[in-house]
């Protein structure tokens, strides 16, 4: 870990940190803007529609227009809401989603914080967003919002356990919690990446991470047909935008994490493709994971709440535990 806080705090160092944070924020905002466009286009294509095509060339400015509309909306707070918590909840939901991005290694050198417990940091901070969602649902003082918040909380807690245990196999194989070291433990060429020996862990991870993201087929917290809109039903304007932003920043974070843990991070697909820079490989794999998330959304119907809990506790948890056990036994066997 870089011990930057042991140095002296001059304005120059402070400004440097601030600039890097703003650069990352702009990249993430750009990603979110075009991820929404990309998602609508992909789903439109799969459903035989055009998707957005009116605002700007090929509809490229559609999301920008949507964001402007959201920001100019009237900011409403329900009369019986808990005002302080109502305002605080979107912040609590967003800040951890952005903070987890600090430990993602894009290439061997391009990493914001080379933390030796990076994976644990990711898991720990992402659990805080749940508090924001629960609070948002509770502070609205609306029964649909409360139900949506509770569902979301229950879902995120239930799926966080298999998510973390499925990753434990990767930790065993690379012997480190540092995300950079986990990539370095995987080789050049796709047969040396973690997703082949850890195929059970990989599958559990993908399913659990979609549930953590509250995306279809696990988007019960915001099931429009039964809960109006879930925990953010009373929110409008930029507070609503913050909840949506947090959700898409988590898409970015989980897609990066999948790339790093299972798909070899910046390592090339075949050793002879070594001349292509690592950042390009990272972006290709990352976009592939994001595409798969959208693909699943366009294909699968939503699950029922009892099926959801059953899947999490009775299927994914035993599977991930078995994966951990098998990995430990095999590693001991071939040592």
């Amino acid at each position: 870990m870089t011990n930057w806080f042991e140095g002296s705090l001059t304005w120059g160092i402070f400004a440097m940190f601030a600039i890097w944070v703003i650069v990352l924020l702009l990249i993430v905002l750009g990603f979110v803007t075009y991820a929404i466009y990309y998602e609508r286009k992909v789903i439109g294509w799969m459903q035989g529609r055009y998707g957005p095509n009116r605002v700007g060339p090929f509809g490229l400015l559609q999301t920008v227009a949507d964001i402007l509309k959201l920001l100019m909306k009237e900011d409403t707070i329900p009369a019986k809401a808990d005002r302080v918590l109502f305002k605080l909840a979107p912040v609590i939901a967003f800040v951890p989603s952005f903070a987890v991005l600090a430990v993602i290694p894009y290439t061997e050198t391009l990493v914001f914080a080379n933390l030796n417990v990076g994976l644990l940091y990711f898991a720990a901070l992402s659990s805080i967003s749940t508090i924001g969602i629960l609070l948002g649902g509770w502070a609205s003082n609306n029964k649909y919002a409360l139900l949506g918040g509770m569902r979301s909380g229950a879902q995120m807690i239930s799926y966080e356990i298999p998510l973390i245990i499925s990753v434990a196999g990767v930790i065993l194989m690379s012997g480190s919690l540092n995300l950079g070291d986990i990539v370095k433990a995987q080789g050049n060429g796709f047969w040396q990446w973690n997703f082949i020996p850890q195929i059970i862990g990989f599958s559990v991870f993908i399913v659990a991470s979609i549930a953590e993201l509250n995306r279809t087929p696990f988007d019960l917290p915001e099931a429009e047909s039964e809960l109006v809109a879930g925990y953010h039903v009373e929110y409008s304007g930029f507070r609503f935008a913050f909840f949506m932003l947090a959700e898409y920043v988590y898409v970015y974070a989980i897609a990066s994490l999948t790339t790093v843990l299972f798909l070899g991070g910046w390592k090339p697909l075949f050793p002879f493709l070594d001349f292509i820079p690592g950042i390009i490989w990272f972006i290709i794999k990352f976009l592939f994971v994001v595409f798969c998330l959208f693909w699943l959304r366009a294909t699968l119907p939503r699950m029922r709440i009892d099926q959801l809990m059953g899947l999490g506790w009775k299927v994914l948890l035993p599977l991930s535990l078995a994966n951990l056990f098998i990995t430990a036994v095999v590693m001991e066997w071939f040592r």
Partner: protein, 173 residues
């Protein structure tokens, strides 16, 4: 005045100050606020600030375990329990002036004792663990030197876990 400026020129000191303030104010608000959900949120602020202090002490593993378990799981569990209660549930504070005065005096005394004790305390320098691999060191210690207490604790947790399932099953019937 110059010593204060010097103190705040180190980023470690500034961060320590902010985190200590967060931990203490979270604890104070936890006691003084009247709505249960607000109390839990301020408790979460205390947990997070403590985790930050652990990071300052180079104990990252402990820090993020603290965030994962206390700020994440425990806080959410408490919120779950409380959110299904009524929205206007706030306790009324009884006003007892004699109690308050006694309380004030004893708090001042306690502070004086602690302050003097800390002032006179001198900690001998210990050879600290290497900051780079303290997660590994914790794991090694747990599974070599402290393996029996570790296994006993995990047995205890399993028993508690099974017990809670049995209790919940009985209530369901």
């Amino acid at each position: 005045m110059s010593s204060i400026t010097q103190f705040f020129s180190s980023s470690e000191h500034v961060i320590f100050f902010v985190l200590a303030l967060g931990a203490i104010s979270g604890a104070v608000f936890m006691i003084t606020l009247s709505k249960l959900v607000h109390m839990i949120l301020s408790l979460a602020v205390t947990f997070l600030s403590l985790a930050g202090l652990y990071v300052l002490l180079n104990a990252e593993f402990v820090a993020f375990a603290q965030v994962l378990i206390y700020a994440g799981a425990v806080t959410i569990l408490m919120m779950f329990g409380i959110m299904l209660t009524k929205h206007e549930d706030a306790e009324d504070k009884a006003k007892r002036p004699r109690h308050r005065m006694l309380l004030g005096v004893s708090i001042t005394l306690l502070f004086a004792v602690l302050f003097l004790a800390i002032q006179q305390l001198s900690l001998p320098a210990q050879d600290a663990l290497q900051a780079d691999n303290n997660t590994e060191a914790i794991g090694e210690q747990l599974f070599t030197l402290h393996v029996i207490p570790f296994e006993l604790v995990s047995l205890l947790l399993t028993v508690a876990f099974i017990g809670s399932i049995i209790v919940a099953k009985k209530e369901a019937e």
